[in-house]
Subunit: 166 residues, 8 copies
């Protein structure tokens, strides 16, 4: 099982980094390419048909045609990550508002980590060990929230004395 | 393998109809419920934990918390369908802009059919017969475009004579 | 010299009608096809490479990838017409916000006639007779404004008596 | 009488600081927690049911489900504070556009102080001393505006001489 | 305990109807007035100071200054209901984006019922019988969701036979 | 003293009607023309320079260049009225967001009556009788609000019995 | 003849500076105050009724109620300047979208200089010497554009040699 | 064949720089001017009628009237480049949403290079050597994407060892 990441531009790498970090943690095989739907449509096609990805993560900004272009070339699940810029609604709407027949799974602006987690969730339908690791990850996330809460509560407690803080 | 559809409100049924039609066509098992993240949070929790869905499709409008609420309760892939209303950007952004850690796969406004196709694509990772049927569907869709094109070309041809039309 | 119109969907025909009416008036050769960047990417490629168009007019709604897809396949000028729907900013931004390197000439929402007039303006760089006809068209448009003005002035005059109206 | 503040994320603390400062000034009891509707739904439920808050202030960004989630779990007034980010309309609309039946009292983007003042105003229906202090606060606010005005008038006066300034 | 409703314009009555229906159901005393912050500022002031309302519900469209104007004249909680029109973001943002110091509790576009429920929730801090009735209302709302669900499930069951439906 | 109204298109007449009704009521001299900044720039220039208007009211939709074009041709106050369409933010922003140096006085979407009232307010700086009539108009407007209020209060009273209504 | 500037907050001074610079240049009498529609409604009323302004310039951000509040208290022309912040559309729409009956003359975001120029244009209806100075100002502005053009042309010329530059 | 660039303001030069760099590379003759539709309408007219441009590129922000003003004065193709600022949707919509009859070819926000590439594409209809150079440019752009991809793949490879990277 392999996740293929495609970036519309080299400048989208920071968003990809978040995705790669998650995939690495889950031990999911991945490959990464830069390929532009507009500047290198043939390259996109070659990557999609040759890479053998089980899930595709497409990261792109502006009029983000990449996720839709990949979705038009494969039957595998395609996850689209809109990348922030000067307008933001351009990439969000370009990724989300796909026409009937060719779905893209949009995640939030610059949300590379969520794209990877969604890929893991999809792949865990076939690999139960991934599901177990995902459960761990969730629990860790929850514990992190609790630690953050303790930290915030303490910050106020030390400032306001014994009084108000929860 | 089963897809569980949850509607935030009875009025979202027309969007669900498009999803159900696709699932029926692909012979995918499905169940449908109305359950509101805000009005019946316990009911949502019960459905998510008891239904045994492999993929969830959550359809909701306004501040559409349902997909995120379901995603917070399961490790399975959750697909969110924003429903149109007076503002539209409310449901689109509520479904797409999930915080890090809990992904939702957003599809377009009122795009129930794409939610179902995405679910089929996800399930086809585990069931090759679904992948084959998905390929058929795509081909059919493509042939439909060709028929539409012929129809449009003819409409102009009959109007403008032998001349312009392609 | 030939203008090739591509519609992302049969439902975009009313917008195409406005374009065709202008092209017919100017005696410019045209062809029309329905072809979806997402549902029939190969068909789009075939049309672009085989049609021999000098200018392409691409009409599409939602996440309107068609103009950009065509622009990625040809060196000829590509005009994109966003089509109105439930969101509108989706198609406008998808057509306008192209990445660097692959330009699309965006016109206004549902502005099929302007797409055709822009095509005529582009082709008139090579065909002076088109420029002359374009000048006529402009003059006619201006005279239409004057007639409209007279009509409006009269409507008020007859209502308010000899008094106010200009 | 107690106000319970819940932050969707540790990073929302600067907005909470404004709320805490107001509550401290009014001598209103408060507790603060970090708890995410999406990452720790059970924790949110535990805090809401066990904290005994009379008013809840929920501070969250992105698709800000926290205020609605809390409102679905309590009959007490819930005040939602959208937190600014890359999109802003996401958190504003997620907090404001609640479905019928489960109200949230939305205040402005990052307006922690207004959330606290609204809580004080609500609690003052039961505690007249709070109403008196609120009146003082308003008067002070008004005097601050007058001082600001004097400062601005002077700034211009010293610059432009005796002439123009009011 | 009394809720005072103020409408910016007679045309806002359908939104007020939803609020009045809720208040009547809860047996909460109410009064209603039309008074415009822009056209009748003195009338707004007179109503606010003389009506003796414990909570104010202000319903207004366009640049909806009414809730803020009322909030500037009273220390009581003020709930603002933006009314839909041609732009919608105008009334939503005008109601939500209040400056620091003068809070308004914004509810969703045209959400008169939520304004009333929020008022009931606020008043129930002082009147426990209201809290009990609010709990009933919530339960009823939840049962309505369950009935809706049954209705939707049945609609599909009768259509698709014993097969798919949940 | 004369107000000159210019409509970007004949279809803007309903918005002009509201302006004309106000000007007629105040007995202000007016003239009306259809002239498009884009289709008939010379006609716009002729009208502006020859009409002798003291105030200009320009009514236009889409990319509403007319008010700015008129403002660039005259030193007299120019009032711009954005006209509603499929996007609305296009005309609002085109009228409001003028560059430094050339001001346009923007009023609300389709607000022809406000454009006329603003013109009257401007002209009343020179004609005190207009100021008096404007005061009358305001009082009438306020009385209308009171009558509307009575009507709404009665509508509820007759429905709910002696009880709730204010 | 006097222009009265009112700032909703001390922080709006940079926008006021642009207005004051223009008024000073034209020798128009002016006064400036900070007064908030929400925090000091009585102060706003006192300033409006006592200052004897012929034109009011109101500068405010967020839900910018100040221009409308002033317009509701005077028959003189009121110019509203929306101030930029995190949302921008809040102040723009709050200033522009006034209800029928109470017009505000909106200028662009942070456009203090245009507010002052509009005030000068309005006052010049009564004072011909102002009109003459306004004509000078325009000419100067035009010459500035020509100088800027020369500078830009030169910048390219020196870079590209004798070749391209105009 | 000559491209004439007009900037609405000197501050738009960075966007023009991108256009000039492309035109220089293609050896296309060009001229550049600063001329404002609002501040120097006559200058705009003079440049348009005297410059003999075959294609016009108009670069402007805010309510960007310049492209439309130029389009109203010439039959040649006019390309409009919206320039980013505090709102962005103002310039985008002002450039795109032209009324029927007067087309402008809008490119993306700050996309000077795409404006120039579109101009080259238009001119290449008359000059085949340009078409050849455009093909070269595209190929170079594509190779740049491939190099970027290699760079990104390597960056990950060196970080993660031989494992994951594609």
């Amino acid at each position: 099982m392999k996740v293929v990441l495609i970036l519309g531009s080299k400048s989208d790498k920071p968003v990809a980094d978040k995705a790669v970090a998650v995939l690495e943690r889950f031990g999911v095989d991945w490959e990464i390419y830069v390929a532009s739907a507009h500047r290198t449509p043939e390259r996109v096609e070659r990557i999609v048909t040759e890479s053998g990805g089980d899930v595709f993560i497409c990261i792109a900004g502006l009029s983000a045609a990449l996720p839709g272009a990949v979705a038009s070339l494969t039957l595998k699940p395609v996850i689209g990550v809109p990348v922030s810029g000067k307008v933001n609604m351009d990439s969000i709407l370009s990724v989300v508002q796909m026409p009937p027949g060719i779905p893209v799974a949009a995640v939030g602006l610059d949300r590379g980590e969520n794209a990877a987690l969604l890929a893991v969730s999809i792949l865990s339908l076939r690999d139960e060990s991934l599901a177990a690791r995902l459960a761990d990850y969730r629990m860790e996330t929850a514990r992190k929230v609790e630690r953050d809460s303790a930290e915030v509560e303490e910050a106020y407690a030390s400032k306001h004395g014994g009084g108000g803080g929860g």
